[in-house]
């Protein structure tokens, strides 16, 4: 328990992990997933545990809390020396679960990735917080409830007394994560482990939660282990960084030196793959990521000599909310959205969850039925689908979804999945189709042999390439990519983004790129449309929108993006607790929609009040 060599001199460590090994049972004997891991952390310090999927960072957190015992894994070596509130140092690997119950809660607390599923759906949030307080602090129910209300106030939840009586499903994702934080802090832990606490949240909510965590840490002086794959978040919050890969720590250091001077090739690759917002501030055109030392060039693929390949005019999609067979309200998912895409152009549709960006894409290809508006494909009006226009729509406009695993049929070979659109649209059959499948696989960076595989035999990145090949099978003119790279690890994400851009320049594809990730959007798009509460509040050339955002919401969205550079950390501690208003509206209360105002060349912005906040 003396390996404090990584630490600058100072007080004794809060937790000192040495030679940790974790195994999971498997056919043919246990498989070790954490190999000889050393980590140390002092009170008041934040250690970021960074790595891509499968690096073992979450398993490490389960090992420290010994929740690993319930997940089927076991600690096969090493020590975890933890110093508790009384100054007692104990080896957590040797404690019984009975003894660990006294550690979990008052000494070590944890926040998980999924706020939507981490709270018990049948218990009121107040009861869930009070349970921990009653258990560890010997308070009665009334005192524990009062304390829970105080804690909710502390995580900036307005009207805590009322919120205590609500069930988790009545709260938004950001609110639930704040409830989780209140729960974690309820017994004043010495160590807080946060496992991807902001990954499932929108950027503006993520910024709120990160600031909240930092403030609370300063107030309480607790140590924090922050597990994340997002280097921007690391730069925002960490004091020190440990980079993990395949169950090993490959590099550790303070946050400034890791970012300024990464030593290990894996850390270097990880940092190179991180999209940095503002990287193309001086460049009007999209440019691919620089991968493995290849410096990309700006690409000019837009054709202005012809009309738009896809034009949408005043698209409206609303979802009725019925009760007792009567229409009671409507969700205004898409309100008067107008946009157009030139051949070879990428229009990014950005905004936060629930803003209507996906519904816009889905309405265009009629996965949802729009209520109003017109849609033109290559100059032809396809608003009212007939047999021929429908076939044309589904051939010329293709979709790539977020989750490549869920969008491939697990019982079919990927070759068949790619061939199916050709058979449906009578483009090719038999040997000709097979030849085209092989060509498409090569085109997306796979080999013809992959055609025989099933989706579960491929990695996430390969599966998304398959989905792209399938989208290309009918030789479409427009690709709608709905969060197509959001589920991928950063290094894979950069590769798939580059692939999409390469295909665009080779095939002259128009793209509607739906994304919440502003840094990726900066890379790929020629123009950007920002959506808020079902409306486009700003649309224009990417450079203009990013460099000179005209709408308050665009500014807020851009400001919330974490910057992967610890020297530019958001120093301002202003906490914003506002919630996005609901797109659910009474029948008698239609939203205000007005034409956008021109503020620059091809740059338009909403000047009317959208949803009351802007």
């Amino acid at each position: 328990m003396t390996s404090t060599s990584n630490l600058p001199p100072g007080p004794a460590p809060l937790i000192d992990i040495e030679g940790l090994r974790v195994s999971f049972p498997a056919e043919g004997g246990p498989v070790e997933v954490i190999h000889n891991l050393d980590l140390t952390l002092r009170a008041g310090e934040t250690l970021a545990l960074v790595g891509e999927s499968g690096s073992g960072k979450s398993v490490t957190s389960l090992a420290i809390t010994r929740l690993i015992d319930y997940a089927g894994g076991s600690l096969t070596g090493g020590t975890i020396a933890f110093t508790d509130k009384t100054g007692h140092t104990r080896d957590l690997t040797r404690l019984s679960q009975e003894a660990m119950r006294g550690i979990r809660g008052p000494e070590i607390a944890m926040i998980f990735q999924e706020p939507m599923t981490s709270l018990n759906p049948v218990l009121r949030v107040g009861a869930q917080i009070a349970e921990a307080i009653m258990l560890h602090q010997g308070m009665d129910e009334a005192a524990a409830t009062a304390e829970a209300a105080r804690l909710l106030g502390r995580v900036r939840i307005a009207d805590p007394a009322r919120q205590l009586r609500r069930y988790p499903f009545e709260l938004s994702g950001g609110m639930r994560q704040r409830v989780m934080i209140a729960l974690a802090l309820s017994c004043r832990p010495r160590l807080l482990i946060a496992d991807e606490p902001t990954t499932a949240l929108d950027v503006t909510v993520q910024a709120q939660v990160l600031r909240l965590l930092r403030t609370l840490q300063q107030e309480t002086g607790m140590g924090m282990i922050f597990i994340t794959h997002d280097m921007g978040v690391v730069a925002e919050i960490a004091d020190r960084v440990a980079v993990m890969r395949l169950g090993r720590k490959v590099e550790e250091g303070d946050v400034e030196s890791i970012f300024a001077n990464p030593r290990h090739p894996y850390t270097q690759a990880l940092l190179a793959a991180v999209p940095r917002l503002g990287a193309l501030a001086g460049e009007p055109l999209p440019r691919a990521f620089d991968i493995a030392g290849v410096v990309s060039q700006p690409q000019n693929t837009v054709r202005h000599d012809v009309g738009p390949v896809l034009a949408v005019e005043s698209l409206v999609t609303r979802f009725p909310v019925r009760r007792n067979f009567r229409l009671r309200a409507r969700i205004h998912a898409v309100e008067q959205v107008s946009l157009s895409v030139q051949p070879g152009e990428t229009l990014a549709l950005v905004g936060e969850s629930g803003c209507g960006k996906s519904t816009t894409g889905r309405s265009i290809i009629r996965l949802e039925q729009p209520e109003g508006g017109r849609i033109h494909l290559d100059g032809a009006d396809i608003t009212h689908l007939t047999g021929t226009t429908e076939a044309r729509l589904h051939r010329d406009v293709q979709f790539v979804f977020q989750d490549p695993f869920a969008s491939l049929n697990p019982r079919l070979t990927v070759g068949f999945s790619i061939a199916e659109p050709m058979l449906t649209h009578n483009i090719a059959r038999g040997a000709e189709a097979e030849r085209r499948v092989q060509a498409l696989l090569r085109e997306v960076g796979l080999t013809p042999e992959h055609a025989q595989r099933y989706p579960h035999e491929m990695s996430g990145g390969q599966r998304q390439r398959v989905c792209i090949a399938r989208a290309l099978a009918s030789s479409p003119k427009v690709i709608i990519a709905d969060e197509a790279v959001a589920a991928l690890d950063v290094s894979i994400r950069a590769q798939v983004v580059n692939l999409l851009m390469e295909l665009q320049s080779r095939l002259g594809l128009a793209m509607l790129f739906i994304s919440h990730d502003m840094a990726v959007v900066e890379r790929v798009s020629h123009r950007v449309a920002v959506m808020y509460l079902g409306q486009i509040v700003e649309i224009g050339p990417r450079q203009a929108v990013f460099n000179f955002p005209a709408h308050a919401y665009t500014k807020k969205l851009l400001a919330a993006v974490p910057i992967p550079d610890p020297t530019q950390r958001h120093r301002v501690m202003e906490l914003d607790e506002s919630e996005v208003p609901s797109p659910l509206r009474a029948l008698s209360d239609p939203p205000i929609v007005a034409p956008l105002i021109k503020v620059g060349p091809h740059h338009f912005v909403a000047r009317h009040s959208v949803g009351g906040s802007y």
């Binding site: 809390t65 929740l67 319930y70 679960q97 660990m100 119950r101 006294g102 550690i103 979990r104 809660g105 008052p106 607390a109 944890m110 998980f112 999924e114 599923t117 981490s118 709270l119 018990n120 759906p121 049948v122 218990l123 869930q128 349970e131 921990a132 258990l135 560890h136 069930y167 499903f169 009545e170 989780m180 729960l183 007792n324």
Partner: protein, 306 residues
């Protein structure tokens, strides 16, 4: 909650109307003329016609249905073909024994089934789990009437502990209720176990453990409450099996209930009694499922509040 209750109650009306049309239609679809049957072999055509009119079987079929439905709603169920007693009276005296039998069977099988399921779920993969599930498989596999005969042989004939048949004291309930409930208990145990195991892997169970909550509180407070939500739905459906099973079990144990009455009425083609009984069974099933829906809403705040 009140609005939910009213909505659910309203929802039962179409079900009952559909069942009544079916029950009414079934007598008409059968070969033979109920009026001729009623009148007996020596009746003159004029007598038969008079009886037909008396039974409400004249006029267009929709009028006949409406008349019948109206009578049924007012408790005028006609007379038994066999005994000439009022159907309402016949059914009335048989109703309570069956109600008690099914309720006792339902109660023990639900409690035992959920108990065994939770126990197996907590000890999953260990011998206690396997033992519980072997018990459950056996429970579904043994036909209730066969088990009943074996039990009569052992407990009544050889040991003399329990009465072979009849109705009255709690001893009379033991064997019929056990045989009737065993299949339901087994299905409930298996279903509860799988629901429990599924919920144990939820993130919020991990959250509860991370709070330092004891294993038993994790099981009973956090896991079971969520696992019960699908189990509650199953309970309502299982009640249908119980009503069906009662027909067989009552015959085995000479239980003076509706099940045996139904068997007797079918062999005598006592149509008014059959009609009334099927209506009653449907009503019971619908009401139990209404109760289940309310329980479901009580257990699941998302249903209750939306």
């Amino acid at each position: 909650m009140l609005a939910y209750l009213i909505r659910r109650l309203a929802g039962t009306i179409p079900v009952l109307v559909a069942v009544s049309i079916f029950v009414f239609g079934f007598v008409h679809a059968l070969p033979g003329d109920p009026a001729r049957l009623e009148a007996g072999p020596e009746a003159s055509p004029a007598d038969i016609e008079a009886i037909r009119k008396d039974m409400g079987l004249d006029g267009p079929i929709w009028q006949q249905y409406l008349r019948w439905a109206d009578n049924t709603l007012h408790g005028k169920l006609g007379r038994s073909t066999k005994t000439r007693q009022q159907v309402a009276a016949v059914i009335g005296e048989r109703f309570l024994p069956t109600l008690w039998l099914t309720l006792v069977a339902m109660a023990w099988s639900t409690v035992a089934g959920i108990g065994i399921g939770v126990f197996s779920g907590i000890r999953r993969g260990r011998w206690q789990d396997r033992a519980g599930m072997v018990l459950a498989i056996s429970g579904v596999s043994f036909p209730g009437f066969w088990l009943g005969l074996l039990m009569i042989d052992l407990f009544s004939v050889r040991l003399g502990w329990l009465p072979t048949s009849g109705y009255g004291t709690w001893q009379h309930f033991v064997m019929p209720a056990f045989c009737l409930g065993i299949g339901v208990a087994a299905v409930m145990a298996r279903f509860t176990r799988s629901a429990f195991v599924e919920v144990s892997q939820e993130d919020y169970v991990r959250t509860a453990r991370m709070k330092g909550v004891s294993d038993s509180a994790v099981a009973w407070k956090h896991t079971l409450r969520n696992a019960l939500i699908p189990v509650i739905t199953l309970t309502g459906l299982q009640f249908g099996f119980l009503l069906g099973g009662a027909i067989v079990i009552e015959t085995v144990f000479s239980w003076p209930g509706l099940g045996r009455l139904l068997v007797d009425s079918v062999s005598f083609r006592d149509y008014p009694v059959i009609q009334a009984e099927i209506m009653l069974f449907s009503l019971e099933f619908v009401l139990i499922n209404l109760l289940v829906d309310l329980l479901y809403a009580a257990a699941n705040p998302e249903i209750r509040l939306k």
